[in-house]
Every structure is written in C-alpha cells, then in structure tokens.
C-alpha cells in the first residue's frame, strides 16, 4: 500500500500551475548560430556575487575567448571577450534588471575569423578537486538556468558537509523556452561529460537527471548516450510549473523537502542546470571561457518565422536580435527569460548575459494569455493562490497584509522569505491582484530596513 502511494507521488510535487506552454513554435528547431552583431555590450556583473574587474583598456584589441575582466575573489567569475574586436568603451550601460551596470563595449571586427584562440586544454581526470574548482571558475561559468550563481561555488562542497547526490535540472518548466530541451537533444555527450566532471568535483555517488515528461525525447537521447559504467540515471517528472524550481524538483525526484531557509546541500544534494553542465562538459577540457549560450527567441501574437533556438554571443544587444528575426513592427513587450519569472525590458539596448535563457516578444493586448482586462478586483478569498503556491504559503493573507504595508508581519508570521517569486499566485488570481509583485516590494523594504538597522 505504501509502495503504491510512493509510486503515485513519484515525479510530483503538490500545488503549482499548468499554464499554456507554447513550446511548439521552437522545440522542433535545431540550434542555429546567430550572426555577430557590430557591437557587443558585455557587463562585468552577469552573475550573483562580486563583479569582475576589467583588465582591458579602451582602444585595446581583444581576441575572442580572451579574459577581459578577472574574477574578484572566490565569489566572482571572470568575463571573456565574446568576439574579436576593439574595446570602444568601458562604462555604465543599461541592464535588464534596471540599474546601469559597468560594461565593456566591443566593436566587432567584421573580417575577423572569430576563432577561439585562447584556452589551455587539460585532462580533467588528472586534476585534483581543488584544481578542478579553480578551472571551473576560470571558465566564467554561472548558472545558465537564470539565477546565474557562479558554478564553481555551487560545486564546492563546504568542509562541514558532504554531497551524495547530484541532481541535474532539465525541467525547463517556463512556458515558451526550449533551449535546454534542444541542448539535451543535440549535445547529450557534452551534458553527460559535464555531469561526470561535476560528480568528480562534488564527490557525489550518483547523478539523477530530472526532465519534465513533455520532453521524453530528450530523456531518451540522454539514456541512449549513457555509458554502462555511468552512475547517472534519467528520470521523467510531471510537466507542471514550477517543476524546475530546485526545491520542487528534489521533492519530485527524491521525496525530500529542503528545510525552510536551507539549501539542498544541507540534505547532501547539489543541483545544476542541464545547460550549465553541457557547457562545463565542453569548456572544462578545452580550458576556454563562456562566450556564448543557447537562447530561445520566440514570441506571442507576433510574426516571427525565424523563431527558434540560437547560439548567441554574450553581450549581443536585444535590438540586434530582433532585427535579425525581422521583427520590426511595434511591440507591446520584450521579455528576457521566461514569461513567469523573466524581466520585461525598458530598453532594447540591453545585452544577452550568461543567465538569459530566452528573448520573448509579446504583441497586442492579448499578452495576458486570453481576453483579460487588467482591472483589479478586491480579493474574493477563493483560495486559488493557496492551492497554487508550491511553497504552501498563504498568498491571500500576505496580500492583505501587503495592502496594509505590514511587511514585517509577512516575514515573521507568514514565511515571506520562503517565497521564491515563481508567480503562480499572480497567475491564478481571478481578481488580478499583483500578489508576487507585492511580495517583491515587501522583501525589498524589509531588506532595506534590516540593512539600515544593522
């Protein structure tokens, strides 16, 4: 009986939502290369942690793959030149998040061969774990799933803890995005190699790749590429948003709940995204840096015949991408990332960074996925947000408190900090109350008050 119950629970977490996925437009399209733009804008802060320090000067020639900004301490990663060209400017440029960030602007040489000449190939099998972690840092790799947390920090297990399982996140639960799907299909060897390296670095005994069951072909491709001696299993999980949130994925795969305020490593688990590990599998042996990534470029209600997955140099401005796609008409909204958690852009001169998984163009008033007016009604206590929240919070209650600006109470009594802003509550709210938006404000206010008090 208990076994049957376990079987039913397998691959699932409770709550969550089923949005329209809109993945058909791009999931069948092989990854292509996008042309080099005439000018690249490369921020020195594309990851969580300390910004990298520029080591090039204005007017200096840079070669594709060369380090142009070095890591500032352990919680930082270097930045490499995504193309051969000349440094035109180093200054504050627009970013997707809003505030201007220090960026290195490179005018790309049109005639350059754009060969990667940098990088010292190594045999990772011969290196120690500490050396490998240094090597990972040198690639400039930061989580490609969106959070852009430096990969070497994630792979370094704190001395007081030990990792037994590496979970590889191939869920890609955000609607529209298919770049991870394509990477799994087209680069299974790179990905498996990356998993093997990560197993070695973390000392974990086994790896589990979790893939949503709408990408069964990707799971099959990975399984087919497995070696008999691999300690890697591939498992399908339910297609549901936010399956790709690491806490939800661990619940689905292993039935464990990461304790409030804790990290997966507290349970001996390390989680990495498939896109990141596929890059690791390629970059670690070649000793090259991260200079491009796969991005899903698509739209809703917009004429974009070239929509698909593209390998895009880091620093490519969104404006150039849209021009390449032939999108010229007036558009309502441009989003970097997925529609559930991505940022909408105020400026098209924002570049693609290491954490950018998608460029979405939404057009027309129907961007709300239906004939929806944006009118906000009072909360009717329907409880849909309570049933949707994967963290089992009480968004309705927190929404009322936010309306009264009782942000402190939200944190002390209703676990505001456990909210990871997946947006399920706002998605389902029939009163169109911007719940997750309220929670972001509440968190920011609390953070500021605490900083001021400290």
């Amino acid at each position: 009986m208990l076994a049957l119950f376990d079987k039913l629970r397998k691959g699932r977490f409770s709550h969550g939502i089923h949005p329209h996925y809109h993945k058909e437009a791009t999931q069948g399209k092989a990854i292509k290369r996008l042309a080099f733009p005439p000018r690249l804008i490369v921020p020195v802060m594309q990851h969580i942690g300390r910004p990298a320090k520029p080591i090039v000067k204005v007017g200096e020639e840079v070669v594709r793959g060369q380090v142009i900004a070095e890591a500032d301490g352990f919680l930082s990663v270097p930045v490499h030149a995504p193309a051969t060209g000349i440094v035109r400017d180093i200054g504050l440029m627009a970013s997707a998040a809003g505030p201007r960030v220090l960026s290195i602007v490179i005018d790309v040489y049109k005639a350059a061969s754009q060969q990667v000449l940098y990088g010292e190939p190594v045999e990772p099998e011969t290196l120690t774990r500490a050396e490998l972690i240094q090597r990972v840092q040198a690639t400039g790799l930061a989580g490609l799933g969106g959070a852009a947390f430096p990969s070497h920090v994630k792979l370094k297990i704190p001395a007081s803890k030990a990792a037994h399982t590496l979970v590889v996140n191939g869920c890609e639960c955000e609607p529209y995005l298919t770049c991870d799907h394509r990477v799994m299909l087209e680069q299974p060897q790179d990905l498996l190699q990356g998993i093997r390296y990560a197993l070695r670095i973390t000392g974990a005994e086994r790896a589990i790749v979790g893939i949503e069951d709408n990408k069964a072909d990707a799971a099959a491709a990975l399984k087919a590429a497995l070696r008999p001696d691999d300690r890697i299993t591939v498992e399908l999980v339910e297609t549901k948003y936010p399956q790709g949130a690491e806490k939800m994925l661990l619940k689905s795969l292993l039935g464990v709940e990461v304790p409030e305020g804790g990290l997966p490593i507290d349970l001996g688990i390390v989680v990495n995204n498939v896109g990141t590990l596929a890059q690791l599998g390629r970059l670690l042996p070649s000793g090259e840096g991260l200079i491009e990534r796969v991005v899903t470029i698509t739209g809703y209600n917009v004429d974009m015949p070239k929509a698909g997955n593209y390998r895009v140099p880091i620093g490519t401005p969104v404006r150039f991408i849209l021009e390449q796609m032939g999108v010229e008409a007036d558009h309502e909204k441009v989003i970097l990332g997925g529609p559930m958690m991505g940022a909408s852009l105020a400026s098209l001169d924002v570049p693609i960074t290491k954490g950018t998984s998608g460029v979405l163009v939404f057009q027309g008033r129907t961007f709300m996925d239906g004939e929806n007016t944006a009118a906000v009604y009072p909360c009717i206590k329907c409880g849909r947000c309570v049933d949707a929240c994967p963290m089992h919070l009480n968004p309705a209650q927190m929404g009322w408190l936010a309306g009264k600006r009782q942000y402190g109470l939200m944190e002390t009594e209703f676990h505001l900090k456990s909210c990871f802003e997946c947006g399920c509550c706002s998605f389902v709210c029939p009163s169109n109350i911007p719940l997750v938006q309220y929670f972001r404000i509440a968190k920011a206010v609390n953070r500021e008050l605490q900083e001021r008090a400290a």
Binding site: D330, P339, M340, T373, Y377, H392, F414, S418, P430
Partner: protein, 349 residues
C-alpha cells in the same frame, strides 16, 4: 525599428484568463436553469419575484457605490447572483415589496457596509432572507402548490400585495387551484410536525412545496456540476456539507428514527442542495485552505441537521451557513497551510 511604446510590467507576464466577472457570470448561467424551472413550476409570480429582487440588489449596490464614490461595480455580476439566489430561497407567492426589501437589506447590511465584494462576512442573499424571515414570519412560510393551473396567466394573490400591507390569506385560493392533497407544508415541515414522509422521487424532481428554487434537488446538483466542471466552484464545500449531513442525521436517525429522518431525505429535502451548492460555496464567506473547508463544511452540514431536528424551525440550512460564515475567520486563523520544508516545531527546552 520604430517602437511607439513598450509596456513595462514585472513578472509573471502571462495570466490565467478566468477573472472575477467571468466566474460570477458563469454562476449566473448556472442559476438560470434553476430559475427557469422555478418559473415553470410556479408561474409568473416567481418570474416577477426574481426580477424584483435582482433589480433591488443591483439598485442598492449602485446606490452605495455612488455614495462611496466608487466605480460602477454592477459589471462584476455578484449582485445579480445575490438577487437571483435570494428569490430562489423565498416562497413562490412572496409579496414583491417584501422581496424588494429583502434585496435591499441583503446588499445594504450584508455587503455594502463591509465594503462591497470580497469584504462581506456573510452571504448577502442569506442576510436578506434572514431579514425578512425575522420581519415577516408568516409570509415566508406560506407555500404555494407547484404546477397549479393558470400559473402562467395569473399571479399568486399574495404576490401583488401593496407595499407595507399584510398579504391576503391564500388558503381559499389554494383550495381552488390545488391538486388534491396539498397541505401547504414543505416535506421537512410535514415530517417534523405531522410525521408524514414524502417520496424520494418527488424530492428529486421538485414536485413538492417549498421555496421557489429549492425544490428540484437533481437540477440544482446538475447546475452545480457545471460550475465544478469549469473549475469555478470548490466542490469540496458541498461535498463536506453532504458528509456532515449524512453522518449527523445517520447517527440521529439510528438513535431515534421518529424524530430524525433518514440521511437521504435530509440530503434532498428543503434548501440544503441550493444552500450547499450555491451559498455555502460562495468564495468570499468560506475558508481558504482545504482543511478549513473541511471544518466549515462539516460544521454547516451538522448544524443544518441539528437545527432541523431540535430547532423550532423545520429548515436549518440558512442559519447553518450564516454561522459557518461567521466562523470562517476563526477557522482560517487555525488552518494556515503547512509551509513546504517547515521545520519541525522545536520543543521549548
């Protein structure tokens, strides 16, 4: 690339298309067959009653909105639902002026004083009904035979009572139009006060005396299923109420069959079906969490039976739901969801 405007909006950028007016409009759709059947059963008197109560509710809603300087809230359909539900809970020959008063009272004291939709504690339709139950105890228990001849051409005599006047005695009129054996009592009252049982088939089809819209249990069930199928109603609320009713009446029936009817009769008689499906399930007055909904449903189901069996009234669903509404904030406070990854409660050392 010319770009006239760009919309800035924080995530999420997609939205489930079901909003409040859509849900409320569908509740209106679900109520329409019940209204139609009530009109077929009791004639133009009920049609007039529905129109009057709905207009009274809409008018009151707009009046208070205008007083408070709020935008027009009639488009959210919630007051239309209140008006329709209210009429369905009233006797078919209920004087129209009293119906209008019930509508005004329901919206004014049941909803507007709390701040309008979403803020009301009690179901406004039931507040309206409770108001007239207290004010006009005779009129609200004066029943009309179903399917009387001429129901499409003439009003029940009491319907057109002039405002502020007592409705005329209808006993004589009932004798003229009634089919044989009509006693002017509902199945619940028959059972309670005269110990006469009504056949389950009649309860199902609605060929019994009762409030305008409560008589056909099967039709109400079907209309509710429509909303459940469209994910616009929490099916757990009626389900828990039914369980509460069956368990409570089952126990009481086993103890004393003469005093308490069997669970099946309890389920399908009186206003239970309409109340459980369309009033207790009103989102505003019901708890947020599944555990809260369980307590709320069982409470209403149990209370309904207890009032029916031990109270001085033959019907108990209305007060049971109002009490359930009143208990909701308390239930909510005690049934907060358990956080994902919640740490086990530390024992105070």
């Amino acid at each position: 690339m010319a770009n006239k405007h760009v919309v800035l909006h924080t995530a999420p950028h997609v939205k489930k298309p079901q909003d409040v007016p859509t849900i409320m409009r569908n509740v209106v759709y679900a109520l329409l067959p019940i209204v139609a059947y009530a009109v077929y059963q009791f004639g133009i008197s009920v049609l007039a009653l529905v129109i009057v109560t709905t207009l009274a509710c809409l008018g009151t809603e707009r009046f208070f909105g205008w007083m408070g300087g709020k935008p027009n809230s009639l488009g959210d359909w919630s007051s239309t639902i209140t008006g329709m539900l209210l009429a369905l809970t009233l006797p078919p020959g209920f004087p129209l002026w009293m119906g209008a008063l019930a509508g005004i009272a329901g919206i004014a004291i049941g909803k507007a004083v709390f701040g309008g939709i979403g803020f009301n504690v009690f179901n406004p339709a039931l507040v309206g009904r409770a108001f007239v139950q207290a004010a006009f105890p005779v009129a609200i228990t004066t029943w009309t035979p179903a399917f009387f001849s001429g129901r499409f051409t003439e009003f029940v005599p009491s319907t057109l009572t002039l405002p502020f006047l007592i409705p005329p005695e209808t006993a004589e009129w009932v004798k003229q139009v009634a089919v044989d054996g009509f006693t002017g009592a509902t199945p619940l009252a028959l059972h309670k006060f005269q110990h006469v049982a009504t056949s389950p088939l009649d309860l199902f089809s609605g060929a019994v005396a009762g409030s305008a819209g409560e008589t056909s249990a099967i039709l109400i069930l079907l209309c509710g299923l429509y909303l459940i199928a469209r994910n616009m109603m929490n099916w757990k609320i009626p389900a828990w109420i039914f369980i509460g009713v069956v368990v409570t009446s089952g126990v009481l029936h086993l103890i004393n069959p003469a005093k308490c009817a069997d669970p099946l009769f309890m389920l399908f008689s009186g206003g239970l079906m309409l109340g459980a499906m369309f009033m207790a399930s009103d989102m505003v007055g019901s708890p947020l969490t599944p555990r809260g909904v369980m307590i709320y449903g069982l409470l209403i189901g149990g209370l309904t039976v207890v009032i029916r069996v031990y109270g001085s009234l033959s019907e108990g669903i209305m007060y049971a739901i109002l009490l359930g509404n009143a208990a909701t904030p308390l239930i909510d406070a005690f049934t907060q969801p358990r956080l994902f990854g919640a740490l086990p409660r530390k024992k105070s050392a």
